[in-house]
Amino acid sequence: MEGLKDVILQYVTKEYLEDDSEPLNFDTPLISGGIVDSFSMVSLKRFLENRYNIQIPDDKATPEAFDSVNKIAVLVEEFVGKKG
């Protein structure tokens, strides 16, 4: 899915980073790196569900699966694929 990773990166940057933070890349550890706490993950999950019209079950939305832009993209693609 073209642009998916950019969309996620842009959202994470806007949602979680302070103005003077180091920029992220697709592999930056988000949760294990302390950038996104497990509480705040919920808004990212809901954003993705609304944007791509999918439902990610809670047992799939684990801190491991949300730990980098690349990993999140894999997860989203799995559900977008199922939908089609």
């Binding site: 706490d37 509480f39 705040s40 919920v42 808004s43 809901r46 954003f47 609304n50």
Partner: protein, 415 residues
């Protein structure tokens, strides 16, 4: 039961890791009543040292007020020491309900329920009034006790950037499909001393049908013209759905807390909040003291007025001396040092000068935002503040940070 060496070693390793990380908390023993002038034994076994206390939550100087102490003595005589029961079995005295009525009147709410502490109030309130169909949206800097209460609740949880109203509005839109929405904030934020924008939050709540919960523990008794709290300061008395607050800070400083707000929400806490149901409430002696505090505060604003003047005097002195402060107009005045070790060294040097003020660093505050949090009291006289200011300036010169910007301090000491 079994506590073999390997388990002992495991915990000893954990304690050592805390020590090695420089995060080990050590208590300082105070040998006198809580006040502006205290006698401290630190480190343990050291001779007593007379110091000026610049870090207590004794905002109104009532912790050792003779009238409060006398009322507590009388309460002890007339109502005894303990209740040996939770509230709903046989642990409610007339004075518990009287204090609930007094708090309802003082805060301008509909009803109030006492809890053993505000930590307990925050631990119990969310699960009592929300379900998995609901959402809690909290400021990212709320107090740890709110975070624990949120963790204990089955409702979904999301956060918004500190005091960022546009971000909060986005979150209210994102969660528009939820059955109930509750926005959660501190009234005055304990580490920064800034005030929540309750007027804007109430407006957003009305626009999106969201309830608002405010923890006013660092406000009740002194923020607002008559000390009712942040809601008075922001002009939204009667519009906050739930206020939680403590008697362990300005309101006598002993212990206890409460949930105050909409009648039905308070009733749900009375029926369902576990720290209320399964723990004794505030001891009669403390209730008697707090009732006297409420009487003192209802009769006069003298103490909160003095506190406001003291805080302004202190903030002005530090600013003129060239310290970097967090913006604000409350009695919490953080002196920013940014570097964790510097905050510890600065605190120690202050202590050597007879000033008791603690350095805070990560994880209590965000990384790279270490500070000395000073807290002003109506129990301080100008001579206390002048002496403390002299010490701060002396120590500030020693570490060469006076007149330096944030960037310059970070350049010298690192983040």
């Amino acid at each position: 039961m079994a506590y073999p060496e390997k388990i002992r070693n495991l915990y000893q390793g954990q304690v050592k890791a805390i020590q090695d990380a420089g995060l080990f908390k050590q208590e300082r023993f105070i040998h006198s009543p809580q006040a502006a002038d205290i006698d401290v034994e630190f480190p343990a076994g050291a001779p007593l040292k007379k110091v000026i206390n610049m870090c207590s939550n004794n905002y109104l100087g009532l912790s050792s007020h003779p009238d409060v102490v006398k009322a507590a003595h009388e309460g002890l005589e007339s109502r005894g020491y303990g209740m040996s029961s939770v509230r709903f079995i046989c642990g409610t005295q007339d004075i518990h309900r009287e204090l609930e009525r007094r708090m309802t009147e003082f805060l301008g709410t509909e009803d109030t329920l006492l809890f053993p502490s505000c930590m307990d109030a925050n631990a119990g309130v969310f699960e009592a009034v929300l379900t998995k169909d609901d959402v809690m949206i909290s400021d990212r800097l709320v107090h740890a006790s709110l975070i624990d209460g949120i963790r204990l609740c089955s409702a979904m949880h999301d956060t918004y950037k500190h005091s960022d109203m546009a971000h909060l509005e986005e979150k209210l839109q994102l969660h528009a499909d939820k059955r109930l929405k509750m926005v959660i904030t501190d009234g005055v934020f304990s580490m920064d001393g800034d005030t929540a924008k309750l007027d804007e939050m109430v407006a957003l709540g009305e626009k999106y049908d969201a309830m608002l919960l405010v923890d006013d523990s660092h406000s009740s008794g002194f923020i607002g013209k008559t000390g009712r709290g942040t809601h008075e300061k922001c002009g939204v008395m009667g519009k906050i759905d739930i206020i939680t607050t403590t008697f362990g800070k300005a309101l006598g400083g002993a212990s206890g807390g409460c949930v105050s707000g909409r009648r039905e929400l308070v009733e749900m806490c009375r029926q369902r909040a576990r720290p209320y149901l399964f723990s004794n409430t505030i001891a009669p002696v403390v209730v008697s003291g707090v009732l006297k505090v409420m009487e003192i505060l209802s009769a006069s604003t003298e103490r909160r007025d003095k506190l406001e003047k003291n805080a302004a005097y202190w903030r002005k002195g530090l600013t003129e001396a060239g310290f970097v402060l967090r913006e604000g107009d409350t009695p919490i005045v953080p002196v920013m040092l940014f570097n964790a070790k510097l905050s510890q060294d600065f605190s120690k040097a202050l202590y050597d000068e007879g000033i008791y003020a603690i350095g805070f660093f990560f994880p209590v505050v965000p990384q790279g935002q270490a500070r000395i949090r000073t807290q002003i009291s109506a129990g301080h006289e100008i001579h206390h503040l002048d002496r403390a200011l002299d010490a701060f300036i002396k120590v500030g010169k020693k570490f060469n940070i006076l007149g330096k910007t944030k960037q310059e301090i970070i350049q010298m000491y690192g983040m």
